[in-house]
């Protein structure tokens, strides 16, 4: 049996991978000291550090050495052989660490087994809420924890609960908003699939606090597995008496059920969501009255996001004070981000509020896929904006992101590199919002459409400098006059790219050039004759036969026929196709 395990990985990207070499060296040292049956060495695929040279991690002590040089290998091996303490001058202390609250059980427990959830401290928050605290103190506890809505706007959760609690009504409702629709964001899905009971417990606590007798999960129909697991969770909770009549033997009763959304983005907006549950068309309504006062079927209704609810059980069982220790002054707790786009390790990252964007994307996710520089990071989905690389050291919280012209949103984070065009990106998001606009109010319906037309014009090389002024004017009008969050924020991607990347717009308009090489109308493909080996691969692959010539004479692209699909550029093995 091994006493210790040594994980070894070379994380330097600029040179040849030395993992194997170091592995053999280390093993030799152990053999020389006859310790290889006591200590095992393992090459790993990912050690959780990036661009930190050779990394050695010792288990079970979890001592990490980074930037290990050849001469240090022996020192480390010897210290292990002689059972000495860690070599202090070589130990690496990571700057950032993930802190898992909402994802605490994801990947740890069987989501379909309620006993495993209870064994991890599940439903103890509910027990404390009912038997120790009572409704008012639950809200007090949530106020102390100062958790804010994780769905986007960051509205204090306790305030919502408090409003609904204070209204007297024979029936009240709580709703879990699981209508996650931002492109590239999937943390809610992951929580629901990995730990549905934590969300359910949060929802039951919310219902208890406000005095609701009915709870709804509003989930997109596109999440069949999440729906299945919530269904199982609800059933298990009924079986255990955690839902239904007299929960845990108390006088508190609650029924819960699932309502499926048909995948309309606007139904994530709370008034539209309510309409949808009521069986009407999913369109928003003017607020006030806010749903906390007059919501579903005219009754007080609390709507919380999945991630917010997933945090509640721990906040209650461990107390608001404990929760408030995590995060920054104004934003407490942690946030789950779905990091996608041109990033090395795409996935979910949960980190205490106040970590910088650079720490999230570079330190935890390993930087860009190509190893090149980051151009910008898009946060908050279609309602958010881009943050350029010079501002990556901003600590992430609700206020800071808003100051930069973006928003926290539900936590999508899309990493962009030099190949992403800053006119094309807002065009994509705006196109999404135009498609998803419900059409009820004119600013959103007409404004969005007009803005999209201007962006199309610019990317097609027909833009004028005046268009930028029009874009800004329409943006402001939409922000002021739209009925709901969708229209009010739809112009954010355009405004933020105009703010940080105006040059790129001007380059498109004045020089009719797309610096990133993304906008089809503004690029041309050519064959570089010096590099061309006359293999003919481009010609055979061209879908419109726009490449003429043969193996004797060489090849050239007929510009009139070319549809700029980029196929030739991709297939050429000699980089003999030029794109500009």
């Amino acid at each position: 049996m091994y006493e210790k395990t040594v994980l070894i990985k070379d994380t330097d990207l600029r040179r040849e991978d030395k993992t194997r070499q170091a592995y053999t060296q280390f093993l030799d040292h152990l053999r020389q000291n006859d310790q290889h049956s006591r200590i095992q060495v393992v090459r790993v695929a990912d050690v959780g550090l990036y661009d930190k040279g050779l990394v050695i991690k010792v288990l079970p002590d979890r001592i990490t050495y980074a930037n290990v040089q050849d001469r240090d290998l022996e020192r480390i091996a010897n210290s292990l052989c002689e059972n000495k303490e860690a070599i202090k001058d070589l130990v690496y202390k990571p700057k950032v660490k993930q802190e898992k609250l909402a994802l605490r059980n994801c990947g740890k427990i069987d989501p379909e087994n309620i006993n495993e959830y209870i064994a991890c401290g599940g439903y103890l928050g509910l027990k404390r809420a009912i038997f120790e605290l009572g409704a008012e103190k639950v809200i007090e506890e949530v106020k102390t924890g100062a958790i804010r809505g994780r769905g986007g706007a960051g509205y204090p959760t306790w305030l919502k609960w408090n409003f609904a609690c204070k209204v007297s009504s024979e029936q009240k409702f709580v709703i879990c908003n699981a209508d996650e629709g931002d492109p590239g964001a999937y943390m809610d899905r992951s929580i629901l699939e990995g730990d549905p009971h934590s969300v359910l417990e949060g929802l039951i606590v919310a219902a208890f606090a406000v005095g609701a007798s009915r709870a709804y999960f509003y989930v997109r129909a596109e999440y069949p597995l999440a729906v299945e697991r919530i269904e199982k969770a609800i059933k298990a909770a009924y079986d255990y008496g955690l839902l239904g009549k007299n929960i845990l033997g108390s006088s508190f009763c609650l029924d819960a059920e699932i309502r499926l959304g048909a995948g309309a983005f606007v139904c994530g907006e709370e008034t539209a969501l309510i309409s949808s549950i009521e069986g009407r068309r999913g369109t928003p309504h003017p607020r006030p009255p806010y749903p906390s006062i007059k919501g579903l079927w005219g009754k007080p209704t609390v709507i919380n996001n999945v991630e917010t609810l997933a945090n509640i059980p721990q906040l209650i069982s461990k107390g608001g004070k404990w929760f408030a220790q995590i995060g920054t002054e104004t934003s407490k707790g942690t946030k789950v981000f779905a990091v996608t786009g041109k990033v090395k390790n795409s996935g979910l990252v949960e980190i205490a509020m106040g970590a910088t964007l650079r720490e999230i994307v570079v330190d935890l996710c390993g930087g860009t896929l190509s190893g090149g520089p980051i151009k910008a990071i898009q946060t908050g989905g279609p309602s958010g904006g881009v943050i350029p690389q010079e501002l990556l050291d901003t600590p992430v919280d609700y206020e800071n992101l808003q100051k930069l012209g973006s928003i926290m949103g539900s936590g999508g984070m899309i990493v962009m590199d030099e190949d992403d065009c800053m006119v094309d990106i807002p065009k994509f998001y705006l196109g999404f919002c135009v498609d998803e606009s419900c059409g009820k109010c004119a600013p959103c319906r007409i404004g969005g459409f007009q803005m999209l037309n201007y962006l199309k014009k610019i990317t097609e090389g027909r833009g004028e400098l005046n268009d930028l002024i029009h874009l800004k004017r329409i943006s402001y009008a939409m922000q002021k006059a739209s009925l709901c969050g969708l229209g009010q924020t739809a112009s954010n991607p355009v405004l933020s790219t105009l703010k940080y990347f105006e040059n790129e717009y001007i380059e498109h308009i004045v020089n009719k050039r797309c610096p990133a090489g993304k906008c089809n109308h503004l690029i041309t493909y050519k064959v570089i004759e010096d590099k061309c080996k006359r293999c003919g691969l481009c010609s055979t692959n061209c879908p419109v036969n726009a490449i003429s010539g043969d193996k004797e004479k060489g090849y050239s692209i007929i510009q009139e026929k070319c549809i700029k699909c980029g196929r030739c550029f991709e297939v050429c093995k000699f980089k003999a196709i030029y794109k500009k």
Binding site: R43, V44, G107, L124, K127, E193, D195, Y240, L242, E350
Partner: protein, 115 residues
């Protein structure tokens, strides 16, 4: 099933704490399944049965390292619990033969994040 009282809830909460340290967990969220976790789960289950091994194969949610799915976490007595990533049938066989039976970690497929 009987309805729980607060004391019974407490009891479940405590009793299950001494869990066995012999298990294999396969990440079976949408991201894992899309990468082929379903097949790996069935394969591991079958191998464990075929070889008559005393180890439990379980489903779990996504750990967050979606780029390395399918993820398989293995805990065997005497070895640290580790997560293998990008597991295909070949790697799964190695996990069974080397990690579970021979009690040695498998080279080149461990994804060890800092948490």
């Amino acid at each position: 099933m009987a309805k729980l009282t607060p004391d019974e809830l407490e009891k479940i909460s405590k009793s299950n704490h001494e869990k066995s340290s012999n298990w294999i967990k396969v990440g079976m969220s949408t991201c894992g399944i899309a990468a082929g976790a379903g097949e790996i789960f069935d394969f591991l289950l079958e191998e464990v049965k075929k070889r008559n091994l005393q180890i439990e194969v379980k489903k779990c949610g996504c750990q967050g390292n979606c780029y390395a799915e399918p993820l398989v976490e293995v805990s065997v007595e005497g070895l640290p619990a580790v997560t293998y990533g990008k597991v295909n049938k070949e790697v799964a066989t190695k996990i069974i033969e080397k990690h579970v039976i021979a009690k040695m970690l498998v080279n080149d497929y461990i994804y060890d994040s800092l948490t």
